[in-house]
Structure formats: C-alpha cells, structure tokens
C-alpha cells in the first residue's frame, strides 16, 4: 500500500486561501510576508534538524542572500524581483557548497559552533566594509515584476503574493526532496551514521547536499526579507539572528514542511503583541511563551496538527 503524501495539497490549499484573503487583510500583509521569509530560512533548518544537525549559522546565508539582492539592486540597478530572488538563492547556495566541504565533517555542538564562527566572521567583514555602510547597512531600491513596482510602495499585496508563491514552490520542492531516498536518509543519519555507511550510502555527501539546500533556502528567505523590509544590515549574520531561526524551528517542529511557516507566523505574532502590550517586559513574555511551548509541545506546534489529522 503506497503512502499518499497529502502535503502538496495542503500547501496548495493554503496558498489559495492566503492569496484570496490577502486583499481583505491589508494590515497583516507585511507581518505575513516577513513570516514567510523567515519560514523559508527555518525550512532549511528543519531539513538539517531532521538529520540531527543544528546550524547556528543560517544567518550567514540569510545575510548573504539579502546583501546579494541589495548590492545588485543598488549598484547594478537590477530591478526584476524574480531575478533578484534567484540571485540571492544562487549566491547563498554557492557559498554553502564551499563551506559544506568542511562542515560536513562535523556533528553536534561543534557543527553548531563552527557554523556560528563562520557567520560571525562574515559579520565582522561586513562591519569593516564602510562602502556597504558598516553596521548601518543600506536601503534596497524598490523591485518590480512584469513592469510594475512591487515593493516600497503603499500596496503590500504584490510582494505578499510573490512571497506566498515562492514559499509554496520552495516548500513543495523540499517536500519532494524529503520523500526521495536521499531525503529519507535524514532520520537514518540522525539515528546511526555507521549503519547508513554500511548500507552503502555516503553520509558525507548526503549531509553536504542538505547543507546546500538549507543554505539556498536561507538565501531565498534573506532575499525575500530584503525586498520586503527594504533595508539590509550585517546584524542579519549575527548569532542572535541565527538563534532566533533555531528557536522558530523548534517552535514549529520538524514534522512537516508546513511547520516552519506555521512556527514563523506564530512567533512573529507573539513578538509583535509582546512589544505592543508589554513594551517594558517583552523579553519576559517571549521567553515564557517559548518555555511553555517547549514543555508542553515537545514536538513543536506542528504536533498538534499532526495529532488532529491522525484522529480524523
């Protein structure tokens, strides 16, 4: 009996609902677009988490993707949004391929700290580069698609729609990857690497591939964020940014490719409301919310949905 994976259909349904409801929720569009950008980075993290690897340096690719978009738009006057997004993804993927050769040898906390070290080194390089504005960064010029300007003007819907479609495509592709033999190796590698090697698969190249995928997704997320926010700065590569992604990954859970987006949306909402209603103690609120989720929902928020579906 073959397993029918319902995820692409759920994703399609979500896409349609979001695109349809979008015009009626103008106040939420910005927050949702930001969440989708964050969700993309977290999606890559989830791929790594399934393999038992926690990367504390996804901020590196997030930042590189954003800076690629910013630089092309500011210095090379590239305005096409799709081209910019593609550039961000590709540059991040190339960097991930290079660093992946080294990183694929590490596991556990050392993998985490080495990724952190690389992202902090790039942070340092950007801080020293006054041509790119050092820690102040610089603004990203508005991008356009099909002849119309989609970012940096009052209407949030075009950018939101683009982000939805991009997130949908990325999620569907990642989901397909995770259902392939190489993708399924993730949990096998996490459980016992040596047996996987005995089986004849190469753990190293599997991890390298996943790392490149995670890097590319983070770069795409960074590109989306750069276009939405309209500003980039080196703080995107700081370890606290990466830490936030890790937190959202745990919050959402690793059960499905939908989980990262869910986690990102909920995290953004909690943080915004914490800022609004307790400007003096938002860290307390956020930390408590985190604790509650970790204690009561150890498999992340997605586990709630998974349980409901199984019951149905």
């Amino acid at each position: 009996m073959t397993h029918t994976d319902k995820t692409p259909f759920i994703l399609l349904g979500a896409l349609v609902v979001l695109l349809a409801l979008g015009p009626f929720l103008p106040k939420w569009l910005f927050l949702l677009t930001m969440s989708l950008g964050k969700g993309l980075v977290v999606l890559g993290l989830v791929v790594l988490l399934r393999t038992g690897l926690v990367s504390f340096g996804q901020g590196l690719y997030y930042c590189v993707g954003a800076y690629a978009v910013g630089s092309l738009s500011q210095f090379a006057s590239v305005k096409n949004a799709l081209l910019l997004l593609l550039a961000g993804t590709v540059v991040a993927a190339i960097l991930a391929t290079i660093l992946g050769f080294l990183l694929a040898n590490y596991r556990g906390i050392f993998f985490a700290m080495l990724t952190l070290a690389f992202s902090m080194i790039v942070y340092g390089l950007l801080v020293k580069t006054s041509a790119l504005g050092s820690t102040d960064g610089f603004n990203v010029a508005p991008a356009s698609l099909l002849g119309k300007v989609i970012s940096g003007q009052g209407n949030q819907y075009p950018m939101f729609a683009l982000a939805c479609i991009v997130a949908f495509v990325a999620a569907v592709l990642t989901n397909s990857y995770l259902w392939t033999a190489l993708g399924q190796l993730s949990s096998a590698i996490r459980d016992n690497e040596i047996r996987v090697e005995y089986m004849g698969a190469s753990v190293r190249s599997a991890i390298h591939t996943k790392y490149v995928l995670a890097g590319a997704l983070a770069g795409l997320g960074g590109a989306v964020t750069a276009l939405t926010i309209g500003h980039i700065d080196p703080e995107m590569a700081y370890w606290t940014t990466s830490g936030e992604f890790v937190f959202v990954a745990i919050l959402g859970g690793t059960g499905s490719v939908i989980a990262p987006f869910l986690g990102a949306i909920i995290f953004e909402f909690i943080r915004t409301y914490a800022y609004q209603y307790s400007p003096n103690t938002w860290q307390l609120v956020l930390g408590t919310a985190m604790l509650l989720v970790i204690i009561f929902l150890p498999a992340g928020l997605w586990s709630v949905f998974a349980r409901l579906r199984r019951r149905a």
Binding site: F110, M113, L114, G124, L125, T288, M290
Partner: protein, 297 residues
C-alpha cells in the same frame, strides 16, 4: 621588549577573566551535558548582586578592604539561590535532546534579562572602590592596577580548586564517575540527582563570581550578560567540552591572540575569537582536549 611584555600581561589578564567565566559552563556541560545559555544571566546577576551588596556595605561605612569578601559572598549567594531553583526547573527536561535543553536555557536567559531589569532598573550601577583600593603596579613601562593582577590569581585559584576537588576528594571522584557514565553510576548507588544539583549550583556560583569580580571594573548595565555568552561558549568549545584544562588553554590562547591583535593590528580584533575557534575546530574537530567518544554500532 616592553610592548611584548605588555601583550603578555594584558593577554593573561583577559584570559583569566575568560577562564573564570568559562569554567562554570564547561563544568555544567561536562557533568550534566547541558549547554547553559543562561550562564550570561548568572554572570549579570552576580555583577548586580555584588554592586548592590558592596554599595550597601560601603554606604554604611564598613571597612573598605572587606568589600572583596562581600563580592565573593554576593556571588555565592546568587549561586545558592538561583542555582538550585533553576536546576529544579530543568529537572523536568532531563533526558531530552541537548538542543532542546539549550533552547530552554535560552528562554530562561530572556526571562532573567527582564527579571534583572525589573529588580534593578536600567540605570547603571557603580561599585568601583574595590578596583582602585589596592593601588597600581608599574611594569613594562605601563601602570596596572593590582586588582587586575589579582584576577589572574582568582582564575588560578578557581581552576586549581575545582581540579583538586575532582581528583583528590571522594566526592570529586564520584563526580568523575557520574561524568563518565550516568547509568552505571545510578546502578552503583550514587545519588546522581544530588550531584547534578551541587554541580549546577557550583557552576552558577562560578558564573556569578565572574560577574562579581568584573563589577568594580565596569558600570553594571542591562545586557552585560549577552556578550559574555558567546565568549564563554567559544572558549569552552575551543578547549573541548567538559574539559577543565581545555577551558584554561582555550582561554589562554584567545586572550593572548586578542591582546596581540589589539597591540599590533587593532582592526582584526573583531575576528579574533571566531577565527581562533574556526581554526581550532578545523584541525581538532572536537576541540583541544576532546574526550574520547564511544561509538555505538
């Protein structure tokens, strides 16, 4: 020559500071396999508690020389109060994935940041009298306050004390057994829960001592714990998780490299610690003094 000596002394002072902070972290990891991100908060708590207690002590006209003792007492109090409280809370999470515990401690760190802000407010606290009290020493053409040099002594003392306890006391040897294999230790009748409690308390107290000892040299402000977390983690990872000698050597390397950078090439100071960490991990993937890993097939 003078410049070289200055690099050495500055490096040693910074290394000692790093070591005192990293010691507690590596101890807790070694025994409990928890990477405590709230370590920075305990450091900050120690600094604030020291600032308040020493401030109170000096304002009531007590002996200034005794303020050093008050610093230590403040730190130990923080350890004794915060340590068991937090450990009891973490008890529910034992057995879970390392990364989940890391996130729990991160959540704790966020909460403690605001708790500190609620108790002490956002204004800076000063408790600089102990810093200048011991006078200064002229060495290598420069002036160094004795306080900084005593910091080196504190580091050596702390490291030595912990090592001695672990190697030569009965409790210490039992702790080594727990570090080595928790399950067998429980089977042999060792009260592992109590050891965890004691270790966590000592680790917290060490972090607080780091903060208390730093307080007279800075203005105690919110957010002072954040920078310390990454430094402590880097030193611990460089040295090899759970290894005391590793933490010492890691702190020494980072301190000396940073000091050399500051004196000869200040623009690269920003990269120092991360480059050292990356280089060490490239050549020794599990840190300098990595414990042998048992592979289960």
């Amino acid at each position: 020559m003078n410049e070289f000596l200055a690099v050495l002394v500055d490096g040693l002072i910074y290394s000692s500071w790093l070591f005192v902070i990293a010691l507690g972290l590596t101890l807790i990891y070694g025994v409990m396999k928890i990477l405590n991100m709230a370590h920075g908060s305990f450091y900050a708590l120690g600094a604030y508690a020291a600032a308040s207690m020493v401030g109170y002590w000096l304002n009531h006209g007590h002996a200034a020389m005794a303020s050093y003792g008050v610093l230590v007492v403040a730190a130990v109090l923080v350890g004794l109060i915060a340590g068991p409280l937090v450990e009891r809370g973490l008890r529910f999470m034992y057995g879970r994935d390392e990364m989940v515990l890391l996130l729990v401690t991160y959540a704790l760190f966020l909460i403690l940041e605001d708790v500190i802000k609620l108790i002490w407010g956002v204004n800076p606290y000063f408790v600089s009298e102990p810093y200048g009290l011991l006078g200064t020493l002229d060495f290598a053409g420069l002036t160094y306050p004795y306080y900084n040099l005593i910091l080196i002594g504190v580091a050596v003392l702390a490291g030595g004390a912990v090592t001695l306890v672990l190697q030569y006391t009965r409790q210490g040897k039992l702790l080594l057994a727990v570090i080595h294999d928790r399950e067998v230790s429980v089977a042999m009748g060792i009260n592992v829960s109590r050891f965890y409690l004691v270790t966590f308390t000592i680790g917290t107290a060490l972090a607080a001592i780091g903060g208390a000892v730093t307080a007279p040299t800075v203005s105690v402000v919110p957010g002072m714990g954040v920078e310390v977390i990454v430094l402590a983690f880097a030193v611990v990872v460089i040295g090899g998780l759970g290894s005391l000698q590793g933490a010492a050597l890691g702190a020494l390397i980072v301190g000396l490299v940073r000091s050399a950078a500051v004196h000869y090439l200040p623009q690269v100071e920003l990269f120092c610690i991360y480059t050292v960490m990356a280089l060490v991990l490239i050549f020794r993937p599990k840190g300098l003094f990595a414990a042998a890993d048992v592979r289960k097939i």
